[in-house]
Symmetry: D2
Subunit: 341 residues, 4 copies
């Protein structure tokens, strides 16, 4: 079985395992107070050109999102997200469990716009309703689409106008930033958001994400909330070390470029075979709409997620490539598809 | 200024004030452990034909809703509500603050149906999403509409099929039950729901609602949660006494019949004047769509809420009558309207 | 049965009922946005000499405490309270349910001191523990004792030094302020705390407390939190009106003086009969230690709470007087006691 | 610098790194639905003789504790813990943040007894207080002490009598079970508790703990709560694989035996040098009371935690050994100590 189910099926880039082995018996202080976390944080500040930012290392995306929103929002404040937003659907109500409503709105291609945000904000007029305070976006989005610099700049402007925070879930930020259609830099992200995280789990690390808080007002006492919500890893240096390795010479971006290239090849092959797509994704997740019989047949040899129920004739699916996806597996998939269509 | 803004502008039915005065210097035990609460609870069990039900007295609707859902749901469980549902919009995120998501769906006339509930349930397939567990409805609804016995029976059947609870917000239950179009009894409500509340605040009491829990599995330790969430009144007997007075000889329903009659008169007058309505409400809240100029002019003398933004020519508004609405005020409103249209 | 169980056994001072009756059919806006709340708030600001303070009206003490702490504290912050503090024992974990730890410490006479606060603060050194941020005290305390101006000033100084808030639960503030041993004014309370509430329920009102927030930084968006936690009364004017009546010409303080006088008479009689006391209370709650046989016998005719288990020979009890306590009932109790001792 | 600060300073036992490398490029399903988690869970059920138990893998101890208590307790229910209990002190109020009070009591040697539990339970009499429902213990405790079979059996009996759950934090369970003074087996632990966790982080794994829920009533929908609280790792197989390696042939217990042996050597050396101890710990944490000058001097070369403030002459400290502690480091410490005393 060849899996295109997700980008966290494998372990870590071999360079990470090598570094872990080297470091394994050296003693490091606990809870992220070690040289590797310090070095990785410094490297991130440098790359993102935000020398004052707070950087925290967490084990996964849901912890990043829920701990950040827990720390940033007062009890009556809410997040605004696309209906497809990860916190709105796939985090089991973690934000609500932290006490906050997620105000959702249908968003084309999974992307919020200034207009959509203004619409949600305008519906919340007084203290009988929640107070929307934070915009939650992902880049790339849950549909594999990406924000342009113009779009992110517009969201920032709405935030400034309405007194909102802008939070960016970067579980697949590397894939977005290395996409051929991308015009954003890590520094742009840092400059335009109040906080964002740089995903590691889905881009070649064993575990780990790096949360970057650029709005100083939001960073106070963040480690208390991390600890309280179970997000402070005893061996925090494990995450710091991995980011150190990946960010040192650009391996982090190489991993994503590979994933994108593999997805591009799939996308081109699928398009050539006549498939349409749910969304125009230029990143490592693509959403082709397969003839139902083809989709069914492919599951004999390939793993992937069905994306909604589809209709009588067609089944939308999600195919995800990663740093570890092999060219021959992509080729095999396309060859099998061709036979089926 | 004559106010049709809501049904809680006045104090209490005079019979209640008389009873309060009589009882005023008698000593009653605190926290609802008194003879008046006992008698009112017994009367409610009798009227609703649910001799085993737990009855608790609370100061308002939001406390009823939030304390009930807090008590009934486990942390990962969610409520299903119409997009217009009170807990979805107008309780400032109280359910989310208690840790639970409210899954909303657009619902014609503000009323959930079995089909809508099934749709929401079907979208929640595994532990990466919340688990919808409770249907929240209001009768009358936020749009003044009411459930028929057939509709409520269908919702019950869906609940039984899917393992859900059915909770009914009865802030305006009296108005619903005394509506000319109603075919439900209090006993039906008790038999078909797991819990519901009988509203007092909006039907002639100073304060107070009576929460009725008919599903014994949901009632355990309810008073702990009441106390913990600030819902246990020191002078609980104040609420018990008021329900005693209103429920003894049917004054509770008389109050609502009066409110409905006043609204019906308004509705007929408005229809005769050519107005359309946002919803087909047979209860004490109506939602006429007024010519904008007329709406503006009427605000000189009458209080009422605008219902959404309307358009260039028309402004939907909400008019609410109560046990205390005077016939001459209704007549005056209609007379003024006629001049304006 | 004559009850000394508490100070909320009766209804309201007759002047309040008269005012309610007069106002009963006048229409008032909902949720506290009415002239009575405005007038009562203005009167409170005047009496407490805090012209900028926010004043909110709530139905009871637990709502005041839990909504305030919910609004004031960030998720990792904790309250410091005496082991006997109301939020530490008798609010069913309401503060914890709002997410905050209550750090307790044994406190002589139920009163926190600067030294005790410093001790608790010093034990909390880093992000692996909660961050104590608010001192919770009551005046009078749960043991009927009161704070002196010097003591409250010392607590303020510790707060300023350590960056803490000072919150005062004034469920029985009237009894404290009118105690013969008191040297604090309402203005002192307002000047020395960040927020406090003036209790109405236990001093002659049907329901209601007035929360006063003098620290402007803590007041932002408070009404959102009130609404969200079920603390915003639809007929908010009911509470405003009652405070208007009681505060207009000093009736509020007269009520408390009467309660204190009745308790003083009991205390003197008990002391004359040889009783010792659990605490030196100069307010409307006293805690005599009765010979067990006498305590048992008195329960035939009088209601009161046992205060802990006592020992073989003696039973500590709590006796509470109120604005409504009758001199003849006090005399009867003492006469019966005398026969028993 | 040689660190005795804790047992999570190093990475993982080399056998684990080897297994990770071997598995690294194999594709595994996400979120713990993989063969390694299945195998590790089966092995744990076998070793603990609880074939029906639910086993879940989490990244750390605080997530285990907070997610378990979140899942097991209703909103008004509380945990009972020793004053030194980890959830009472060192988890930043995580249990309170989940809504639950932790009722603490002073406990000799950090160990709860039936008598202490009964005392706490007896103080909670009605719905004005929280309802203690779960006993939280650690084995070994925060003071390195361990429970005997008789003691754990007594706690179980109290739980059965009072309707409480027994939860055991096993962050250092391996050290307890391999202690020379221990008479408990893993099967005893499983039989006597409702849930417990087997710590990996502190016994040779990179990350990971295995939560075992033997009380079927408590296991329902646990994965929802795991996901909601950020505790479900995308690459869950990482933890399953590590437990597989350590539990296959007893390496898990060998690691702990080594740690205990190293601590025993330290303890004997310290005792021989005349030191007293804060607690009688037969496990991998010991708490000697050092002459202050010696303690200060040792910090030049050795890392360890000061345990409280001590007094003028003496400083209690904590020394922790692990699977990775080297004999020569222990010898060096003792040699240096000897020179100083």
């Amino acid at each position: 079985m060849i899996c295109f189910n997700n980008d966290y099926s494998e372990g870590a880039h071999p360079a990470i395992l090598r570094a872990l082995e080297e470091e394994n018996l050296r003693q490091n202080p606990g809870y992220g107070a070690d040289v590797h976390c310090a070095a990785a944080a410094a490297r991130i500040r440098e790359l993102a050109q935000c020398p004052e930012a707070d950087v925290h290392f967490l084990v996964g995306g849901t912890p990043c999102n829920l701990i950040s929103l827990t720390a940033f929002l007062r009890p009556h404040q809410a997040a605004i997200a696309a209906e497809t937003g990860h916190i709105a659907v796939h985090e089991s109500g973690s934000i609500e469990a932290a006490g906050h409503k997620v105000c959702t709105i249908a968003a084309d291609q999974g992307k919020l716009t200034g207009e959509l945000v203004r619409k949600v904000a305008a519906e919340h007029t007084d203290e009988h309703m929640v107070q929307p305070k934070l915009i939650f976006i992902s880049d790339s989005t849950e549909l594999g689409t990406i924000y342009t610099k113009a779009e992110l700049t517009e969201l920032r402007a709405v935030c400034d106008e309405l007194g909102l925070y802008l939070y960016l879930d970067g579980a697949r930020l590397a894939s977005a930033l290395t996409s051929e259609e991308n015009d954003l830099t890590l520094a742009d992200i840092a400059a335009l958001t109040d906080a964002f995280y740089i995903g590691g789990t889905k881009n070649g690390m064993l575990i780990g994400e790096a949360l970057v808080i650029t709005n100083k007002a939001l960073g106070a006492d963040f480690r208390y909330i991390m600890k309280q919500r179970g997000g402070m890893l005893a061996k925090g240096w494990l995450i710091g070390l991995q980011f150190e390795v990946l960010l040192k010479d650009g391996l982090y971006f190489e991993n994503a470029r590979h994933a994108n290239a593999m997805s591009a090849r799939l996308r081109e092959g699928l398009a050539a075979a006549g498939c349409r797509f749910v969304a125009d994704s230029p990143t490592n997740q693509i959403f082709p709409i397969l003839p139902r019989a083809a989709a069914d047949a492919l599951t004999q040899r390939y793993g992937f997620e069905r994306w909604g129920a589809g209709d009588a004739g067609f089944q939308p699916v999600r195919l995800v490539c990663s740093w570890a996806t092999k060219e021959e597996d992509v080729a095999a998939f396309l060859a099998d598809l061709e036979k089926l269509i």
